[in-house]
Amino acid sequence: MVGVVNYFREIAQGLYTLMVGMAVTFRNLFLPAVTVRYPHETLQMTPRFRGPAELIRDGETGQPHCVVCMMCQRACPSRCIAVEGEKPEGGKRKVPTKFILDFTTCSLCGLCVESCKFDAIRFSKVYNLASTRKEDFILDLLNPKATRGASCS
């Protein structure tokens, strides 16, 4: 007799747990969607978000603070930064002529930003870089607009 009671009790218990599970999904039926419709609405990145690096420019003159001291190039574990510069005759400090960041191998570890003594490089807030060609991710930081395919808004 006990077996029969257990038999029906287990069925009843099983049905009850199924109903409780369905009640949970039913309650979620009326709650609003939590997803963001990406192409139409975009998310706002937090201030400390780490996008591809960019040069900090002086307010008025628009010249980058970088003095081509190569500290960031040496600190980078995956050797993605290539900097060249020369000293103009009149001026007293070097000016960068080429500043290439190979974003395909950059692992966003932040060592370049930390090792820069002249506060010349920081992380940008760009997060939707998209392109079909690898070359578009070799970013030229001196004239950022030049990057063709990568649509960095």
Binding site: Q13, L18, V24, T46, R48, F49, L108
Partner: protein, 372 residues
């Protein structure tokens, strides 16, 4: 319901589960020799996402290697940063200020909850339930936003530095954590009602994938797999590091050794992590978040040391052999998933195909963690 190998006759056929298969999260191939739906022998073939992390460590300075450590088990990257930072601090003898220890524990426990949520979703999908994943990822998003606001990255945080953390946490991070904790507790009851009590789920996992403690000991399995087999070993309690001795939390241990026990260990661990974060937030001291004089190029003294930390999947150990220069002489990574997967061959003999998925899912593997 497993049949041992001797009673199976008839000709067997070999099926390749993987390397591209919905149930192997990551690139893992398992050669199954099967008789009908019973598995005679399951041999995991690994190495598809092998990147030679240990060789990379031998041509990078200590601080340059931080980016790699987060990419070994990218689901629990903060805890791996914790392990590496503490290993080098133990080797080089760098003191860590009080506030940095608290920040490290808070962010690591948040990352452990995110890692368990990312295990919970795909595990239920392996068993056929498609909705719990969306709820779990909704909660996980809350954690990722918190950690992104403090460290800048969402998955592979390179947030720790030798001697502390790279930037401080502010008040709205603390407020965000408290709001998350209260919301998460009520969400855990939702998961209990939707999945844990569900009779179909119970029938799918109870008594399936039994791993006796003896096999765990022979294969060196650690973490929730070990605690699901009745052995109360947790690195945070048995070899305490950082400020875990000051926090009051207990270790969930279930003795049934089956997939359900491992499931309940992880769900209970989320609760414990919430408790720990709450206590750490209450006792958060003010003060520096980074040790003052840490040399830019670190040259630890000659010698070797071993440090292990309780990762989301088991005890993650690092053995660093230093020869005095700024580049480590040898860096051995003892990863938990490597050991947990090695027992799959013995544990899944004679099981059904569908049940072996429940076992594989309950081991919570992260394949790059296996291959390194």
């Amino acid at each position: 319901m497993s049949v041992d190998a001797t009673t199976i006759q008839g000709e067997t056929f070999v099926v390749n589960m993987g390397p591209q298969h919905p149930a192997t999260h990551g690139v893992l191939r398992i050669k199954l020799t099967m008789d009908g739906e019973y598995i005679m022998n399951a041999e995991p073939v690994i190495g598809y996402s092998h990147r030679m992390q240990e060789k990379m460590a031998e041509n990078r300075t200590y601080s340059q290697y931080f980016a790699n450590i987060g990419r070994i088990d990218y689901v629990g990257a903060m805890i791996y940063n914790f392990g590496y930072a503490c290993a080098v601090e133990r080797l080089a003898g760098i003191p860590v200020p009080e506030r940095a220890e608290y920040i490290r524990v808070i962010t690591s426990e948040l990352n452990r909850i995110a890692s368990h949520l990312l295990w919970f979703g795909p595990f239920i999908i392996d068993l056929g339930g498609l909705t719990p994943l969306l709820y779990a990822f909704d909660d996980r998003e809350g954690i990722l936003n918190l950690l992104e606001s403090v460290s800048g990255a969402r998955l592979t945080f390179s947030y720790f530095r030798f001697g502390g953390v790279c930037n401080d946490i502010d008040d709205d991070f603390v407020a965000g954590c408290r709001a998350f904790i209260s919301r998460m507790r009520e969400r855990l009851t939702l998961y209990r009602r939707l999945v844990t009590d569900n009779i179909i789920f119970r029938k799918r996992v109870e008594g399936i994938g039994v791993i006796p403690p003896e096999i765990c000991r022979k294969y060196g399995a650690t973490g929730p797999v070990l605690r699901g087999s009745g052995v109360a070993y947790d690195v945070r309690k048995d070899e305490p590091y950082s400020i875990y001795p000051l926090l009051d939390f207990d270790i969930p241990v279930f003795g049934e050794c089956d997939s359900m026990a491992r499931y309940r260990v992880r769900m209970e661990e989320m609760n414990q992590s919430l408790r720990m974060i709450e206590q750490a937030l209450d006792k958060l001291p003010s003060g520096p978040f980074m040790a003052e004089k840490v040399p830019r190029i670190l040259k630890p003294p000659k010698g070797d040391c071993y440090f292990n930390v309780e990762g989301a999947r088991g005890s993650f150990g690092i053995r660093i052999v230093s020869d005095g220069t700024e580049i480590p002489y040898r860096l051995k990574l003892r990863t938990p998933c490597f050991a947990n997967l090695s027992l799959f061959e013995e544990a899944s003999r004679g099981m059904l195909l569908a049940d072996s998925l429940a076992l594989l899912g309950s081991l919570d593997l992260c394949i790059p963690d296996v291959d390194r």
